[in-house]
């Protein structure tokens, strides 16, 4: 079926199998492999994207359910000139190990900081409870969130 979705600000169309997930459409039809395909059951958060501004697992959204709607992915965060402050913070603090969970975490952290500019550790843990890091790099990830939060508060984008 033909799906028309606004992705990172641009309307895109794709002819997809009706049972395909939004994640499959992004990765295999629209050339956006930043959202990762890992558990395919909403457990790991590696495919986190925004659907009409809400944080969701793209693997649990039917591509057809995104028809006519607005999707924002990790690819929409950096500009050609610079990484997003959350991406910078992950690099600087060593919060990236194998990197597979990173795009989902970047999206979830960006979402968190848009709502809670100065989150406590407890708030961060709860906000990221749906994102798994199998390298267990959680301590550095928490450091990255605090660093990004500090910088985004002092130099808002």
């Amino acid at each position: 079926m033909l799906i028309r979705t606004q992705v990172n600000g641009e309307w895109k169309t794709a002819e997809v199998w009706p049972g395909a997930s939004l994640l499959y459409m992004l990765r295999e039809h629209l050339g956006l492999p930043g959202s990762k395909n890992a558990c395919e059951q909403g457990e790991c958060g590696s495919c986190s994207v925004w659907l009409d501004g809400e944080l969701v697992c793209a693997c649990l959204v039917l591509a057809a359910q995104a028809h006519g709607r607005e999707v924002r992915t990790v690819e929409g965060l950096a500009t050609p000139e610079a990484l997003h402050p959350v991406q910078e913070a992950f690099l600087e603090t060593g919060a990236v190990q194998c990197g597979f969970c990173t795009p989902g975490l970047i999206v979830a952290v960006t979402h968190l900081l848009a709502q809670v500019p100065a989150p406590t550790d407890a708030t961060i843990r709860e906000a990221l409870s749906g994102n798994l890091c199998r390298c267990t790099g959680y301590a550095k990830i928490l450091d990255a969130v605090h660093l990004a939060a500090d910088r985004m508060r002092t130099t808002p984008r």
Partner: protein, 296 residues
């Protein structure tokens, strides 16, 4: 395979009448897993996320109607006064799952581990079902949830929502699992104390083929509170033995089995512990609400 995207309830119901095998999809937190893993290939899916009728909640003459498409995130945001419901909603999955998952999904899937279901059972909720060309019908929750993943939903019907009489009094939802997020309950319990009818209602999840109430414990708890003069005076002391006896009776109502998430014995024990705690919390909340401190 085909996906239909109706814009109104009337359109969706007409589709369901014409294609009774069509499977409704809302948040997809159960159904998409089955699709992704090739476990299910429905010929037709109906996206019910676009139906405004399912996304509303409203208070009406002392009752709350909660549309089947209201997500757990919205429950947490919009309905803070329904404490046990909010506690259950907050315990669902993760932020990503709560942004998609709906109470209608819990009802439609009919798993005894659905987090919202013990709350609906303790509220004595009814399930509102719609079909084309007929008036909506309502079923009490226990006539709707028939067994593990078995419901009374007819092939030409959609779940419109759920409705219950708003009670006055404390209540809680609690859940046992290996971590604070992404947990399918090993055991869960909802307790509602209704000041108006002077009843205590307890419902259990994940410890039977469907949601179970504990009528013997409910009657015993209400009687013990009456004997202590507690219904009239929330500060009246209730003997500590009452909570223990209450917990034992709740545990006796469970019908648990051994499975990958826990043993029957552990689940039964968990029910007793959850029930004791829930009763104490409710009594302490009543004390605090009337100016007293918690008893311990």
């Amino acid at each position: 395979m085909e996906v239909l995207l109706p814009q109104t309830l009337a359109e969706a119901l007409a589709t369901k009448a014409a294609l009774p095998d069509a499977v409704p999809i809302a948040g997809g937190t159960d159904l998409m897993v089955e699709l992704n893993f090739d476990r299910r290939r429905p010929a037709v899916l109906i996206d019910i996320c676009r139906l405004p009728e399912l996304r509303e909640w409203r208070k009406d003459d002392g009752t709350l109607f909660l549309g089947a498409g209201v997500t757990y995130s919205r429950i947490v945001r919009d309905l803070p006064e329904f404490t046990p419901l909010v506690q259950a909603a907050r315990s669902v999955g993760s932020p990503q799952i709560r942004n998609r998952g709906t109470v209608g999904g819990n009802l439609g899937t009919g798993s005894p581990a659905g987090d919202a279901l013990p709350v609906l059972a303790a509220y004595d909720a009814e399930v509102v079902l719609a079909k084309t060309g007929a008036r909506t019908r309502t079923l009490p929750w226990h006539q709707f949830l028939l067994g593990p993943k078995k419901t009374a939903l007819a092939p030409d019907e959609l779940i419109l929502g759920t409705r219950w009489r708003i009670t006055r009094g404390p209540g809680s939802f609690s859940k046992i699992g290996p971590r604070n997020a992404m947990v399918i309950a090993v055991a869960s319990l909802c307790l509602v104390l209704d000041e108006a009818s002077r009843t205590i209602r307890v419902a259990l999840g994940s410890v039977g083929p469907t949601i179970l109430r504990a009528p013997d414990a409910e009657a015993m708890g209400a009687r013990a509170l009456a004997d202590a003069g507690g219904w009239d005076d929330p500060l009246a002391p209730v003997p500590i033995k009452v909570a223990e006896d209450f917990g034992a009776r709740v545990a006796a109502a469970a019908q648990p089995i051994d499975d990958v998430r826990g043993t029957a014995a552990y689940r039964r024990h968990a029910c007793a512990v959850l029930a004791q705690r829930a009763l104490r919390w409710a009594l302490d909340d009543r004390m605090r609400a009337s100016g007293g401190g918690p008893r311990c």
